[in-house]
Symmetry: C2
Subunit: 189 residues, 2 copies
DNA sequence: GTGATTGCCTAATAGGCTTAGGTTAGCATG
DNA sequence: CATGCTAACCTAAGCCTATTAGGCAATCAC
């Protein structure tokens, strides 16, 4: 019997493609194994069960998202940077809905150093953008939560088909960012 | 053999309690049946399988959430109304995390008249609040998406333990609403 | 070539959903 | 009060998961 020649990365690759195509809930070891031409128990050589696989997919999503945000922010400042980061965030969520969803399972991901580091990097990107607004310290941390909540909610609602009305979702997103931009600029204290 | 005397409502009740306590993912027919003192197949007399049960729990969540928003908005206007609605939204999400999560599965819920009606009612509440800001028409629909995205994202991040830093989550929420309030007030055109 | 590693396998356990088909409790009707 | 119907509940079985245990053999280091 020839070997498939798998390794950890190949398994996570296959899982990531699967969740992006069919949703996080449809991630099963059986399906991943089938796409790799292998039986389910064989995956245990590379991955420590289903939960571990989900965690690794989430960690990859967190890392890719943080990288995308960093690239978007590079060389920009102020509203320009906020818009670029927001666009990159939404773009990643739309392009990789499964990885994105997996990246948000904070409780599971707290066991992954890679995921924790990536989340920290993403926060740093937003904090840098906020310095362009003159917001620092705790104010900046609160503002980071505001921005993250707004972007996260938008991406999830879009992914789940929550924007049912016949009204441009692109326009809605642009206005969301504009509202945040205005709201952040007007901060006193 | 005595009968348990179940009906649809009792089954959905049990499921709603279960998902609020242990999370939406832990909803299984076997567990619901066990809490009701019955075998899993017996539930098929009252509910059309697991997916249908999830849909019904989500519909109940959507209705309860819409009712809470309506109560919060009653007798208030402007920033006051926005704050009250936002607090009610977050409060429901925290108090009933499982129902709340189920209520957001838009694709599944599109098959539920109750859920569709409830979602429409919630949108109406927000539109009424926005009239207090002088926002109407498409602008108001876009603003509704902004508000919904921000609240939804915040509730989900809070539920999943996404706010890890030692920084008051209550304060963050207050500032989120304040940022939205300022951002909505400054709308031109 | 030889030995060790390890990738992959089959077999089996345990638990989930669901369908099929049977039994019976409890009500409605005569 | 007896009869019969409805529907609530059951067991059995099939098929899908995940996971563990234990075995075989392909491949690599020497």
């Amino acid at each position: 019997m020839p070997r498939a020649g798998l390794d950890d990365t190949a398994v996570v690759d296959a899982a990531a493609r699967l969740v992006d195509a069919d949703g996080l809930d449809s991630l099963t070891l059986a399906r991943v194994a089938a796409t790799l031409g292998v039986r389910a128990p064989s995956l245990y050589s590379h991955v420590d069960g289903l939960e571990d696989l989900r965690r690794r997919v989430g960690a990859r999503g967190a890392r890719e998202l943080a990288e995308a945000l960093g690239r978007a922010a590079a060389g920009r400042a102020g509203s320009d940077a906020l818009m670029a980061v927001a666009e990159a965030y939404r773009s990643y969520g739309r392009g990789h809905p499964g990885r994105y969803a997996a990246a948000q399972r904070a409780r599971e991901l707290s066991a992954s150093n890679e995921a924790v580091a990536a989340t920290g990097a993403a926060v740093e990107v937003v904090l840098a953008v906020l310095r362009g607004y003159g917001i620092e310290g705790d104010d900046a941390l609160h503002a980071t939560r505001t921005i993250r909540a707004a972007l996260h909610g938008f991406v999830l609602l879009e992914a789940v088909g929550g924007f049912a009305l016949d009204l441009s979702v692109d326009d809605s997103f642009t206005r969301l960012i504009a509202t945040l931009d205005r709201g952040l600029r007007a901060v006193e204290q």
